[in-house]
């Protein structure tokens, strides 16, 4: 039987085309299929999540926010940065997991944390003197970070039919230890898309640096971006 088919294939172009199409189809589609052709499909339960992704929606391994470099100064000054860029997009996904709303908030991984360097440190949540001097909290460092999501650009993600209606950006706010440990970035109301994804870029970050802060190139701080079903 097989030999006769092969013989026909050699002689007849029509059959060659048919066999080629047949083999192409089965080589592509039935890679994982069993001989009985019982199709199985599992769709895993989705989960509300937030992530930092690149322009292709691929998770960024070590997301970061670079702050503008400032020069040593005898006066209090500010460094600025942008949270959410074209290559590090704040990305929220709700695959029908938080129909009644959610919140994305930014907070330090530890409210007692500071901008740490090998030399001296400075604070991110001390409101004394508009962040220029020490006083409001237990540490002996000045400095305050202000986050302004309201200037950011909100857009829908991969979901073509989704809208940004009922998703609102948070207000500008500074971190104040024990008073404002968490700053709202985005809020999704119950009326936002039950199945949807959104991306936010251009959140402004400003950090007040106390006067005469020691020169260092390795100041760093750990922040946590949370999405919470509410």
């Amino acid at each position: 039987m097989i030999e006769s088919i092969l013989g026909l294939v050699r002689q007849n172009k029509t059959i060659s085309v048919l066999v080629f199409g047949f083999l192409t189809f089965f080589s592509v589609t039935y890679v994982l299929a069993s001989a009985t052709s019982n199709f199985t499909q599992t769709i895993n339960a989705g989960t509300l999540s937030v992530d930092i992704v690149d322009a292709s929606y691929v998770t960024v391994g070590s997301p970061s926010v670079a702050m503008s470099a400032v020069t040593f100064s005898f006066a209090c000054q500010a460094a600025t940065g942008t949270f959410g860029t074209a290559s590090q997009v704040i990305y929220v996904k709700n695959p029908d997991a938080a129909d009644n709303g959610w919140t994305v908030a930014l907070a330090a991984s530890d409210p007692t944390d500071v901008w740490d360097s090998a030399g001296t440190d400075f604070d991110f949540n001390d409101s004394t003197g508009s962040g220029c001097t020490d006083g409001a909290d237990a540490d002996s460092l000045g400095g305050q970070m202000t986050v302004d999501p309201s200037v950011g650009t909100l857009a829908v993600g991969q979901c073509a039919s989704c809208v940004t209606t009922n998703v609102t950006k948070g207000s500008s706010a500074p971190f104040v230890q024990a008073t404002t440990d968490s700053i709202t970035i985005l809020t999704g109301a119950a009326g936002s898309n039950d199945i949807g994804d959104w991306k936010l870029t251009g959140v402004s970050i400003s950090q007040t640096i106390p006067a005469e802060q020691a020169v260092a190139s390795d100041y760093d701080i750990n922040l946590t971006l949370s999405v919470t079903a509410s």
Partner: protein, 380 residues
């Protein structure tokens, strides 16, 4: 034999092509990567329990439940699973305290059976937890969180802000007793933005439980047309002031507008998180803000064009009215004689034949019957 084989091959090709065209639609999967969790045992009487944990527990009571920890990322991940107290975020939004922070409220009441799970891509695991409500727990709502966070090693060489992400599930525990559900309006402001306005309503919860409130901000033109509606249902946590930033693009036409703010909520103590009693819906109406907005550039150009067109039409209308008045009051009667045509009469009375025909409603082919009386301009 050859014909039979060809027939078999044709049949197989036809069937396989048909299968190829029909089945892919059923095999498509939606990609929703990410890690997080969901309540493992949602209750059928409260759909909200599909997203968050909601309990009514007496002081001293113990409750066993579970969270399904999910890893839909393309990688195997080790995820921390932990409880934490809630904390208000700015704008009165719900947020959770950090892993590093001491637990003093609901976070301390929850004991998670596993502190971390390692999941392959596309898998999940149910992690049980126990809630033990202390005898001292006061009446009203207490909130906490169960969080799923990737276990990461800090990159020591990185400067600037290092970011971690996590997903939290609210745990709302109500201790029965004298439940008070009450909201009050705390303010409503409007501020300019580069390309429009920011509407900023504020609501304060003065009760002892959170309330899901329907916030409505409606902007109308001076003529009463609705320009935009903002709002939605938001949870307002007890003791907190919630506020929202609703962006209003600059109205196209410009002019005077008014934005009004209202909040509707269920005041009945029988209502709870995710459940409306439907008995005491209360509507709080806030201030109305009037504001003037300049039109957009396109709106301004269009408005000028409309103005010019309106002026032109008005001028023509005035001309027409004047002409009509003249025909009625100044023109005299003329009896058509043999040999008169519309053209000859137009020439005779120094007027265009079209005006003469229009004034006397003479239709094509503009023939004039001898003996009829028509209106003509008075002789100079």
């Amino acid at each position: 034999m050859q014909n039979v084989t060809i027939s078999i091959l044709r049949f197989v090709f036809f069937v396989s092509t048909l299968v190829f065209l029909v089945l892919p639609g059923q095999a498509k999967a939606i990609e929703y990567g990410g890690f997080g969790g969901r309540p493992a045992n949602p209750r059928s009487d409260n759909p909200r329990t599909e997203s968050i944990f909601i309990y009514t527990l007496e002081p001293g009571e113990e409750k066993l439940d579970a969270v399904t920890v999910i890893n839909n990322t393309p990688e195997r991940k080790t995820l921390l699973v932990y409880a934490a107290d809630s904390t208000p975020s700015t704008g009165g939004a719900f947020a959770c305290k950090q892993f590093s922070e001491d637990k003093q409220s609901v976070g301390a009441w929850i004991t998670v059976s596993k502190s971390e799970v390692t999941l392959d891509s596309g898998t999940n695991e149910t992690v049980p937890f126990t809630i033990r409500v202390p005898q001292s727990a006061g009446v009203g709502e207490h909130n906490g969180c169960i969080l799923i966070q990737e276990k990461k090693v800090k990159n020591e060489n990185q400067s600037g802000v290092s970011l971690s992400v996590r997903t939290g599930l609210r745990v709302a525990i109500t201790i029965p007793g004298d439940i008070v559900r009450k909201l009050e309006l705390a303010g409503f402001t409007l501020s300019d933005k580069p390309e429009g306005y920011l509407l900023h309503p504020q609501v304060r919860n003065i009760g002892n439980v959170s309330i899901d409130a329907d916030v409505q901000v409606v902007t109308k033109s001076v003529l009463g047309f609705t320009v935009m509606e903002h709002g939605g249902e938001f949870p307002i946590l007890k003791g907190e002031v919630s506020d929202w930033n609703f962006e209003l693009p600059k109205p196209f036409w410009g002019g005077w507008y008014r934005s009004s703010f209202a909040v509707e909520y269920d005041e009945n103590p029988e209502a709870s998180v995710g459940i409306q009693s439907g008995k005491n819906l209360t509507l709080l109406k806030g201030d109305t803000i009037w504001f003037f907005s300049f039109p957009t550039i396109k709106g301004l150009i269009l408005e000028l064009l409309i103005l010019v067109l309106a002026a032109y039409l008005y001028r023509n209308y005035r001309k027409f009215k004047k002409h009509k008045y003249a025909v009625k009051n100044d023109w005299i009667d003329y009896r058509v004689k043999s040999g008169d045509t519309i053209n000859s009469l137009a020439d005779q009375f120094n007027i265009s034949w079209k005006s003469l025909a229009r004034a006397n409603k003479v239709k094509a082919p503009y023939a004039l019957e001898v003996g009829i009386v028509i209106k003509v301009p008075p002789a100079e």
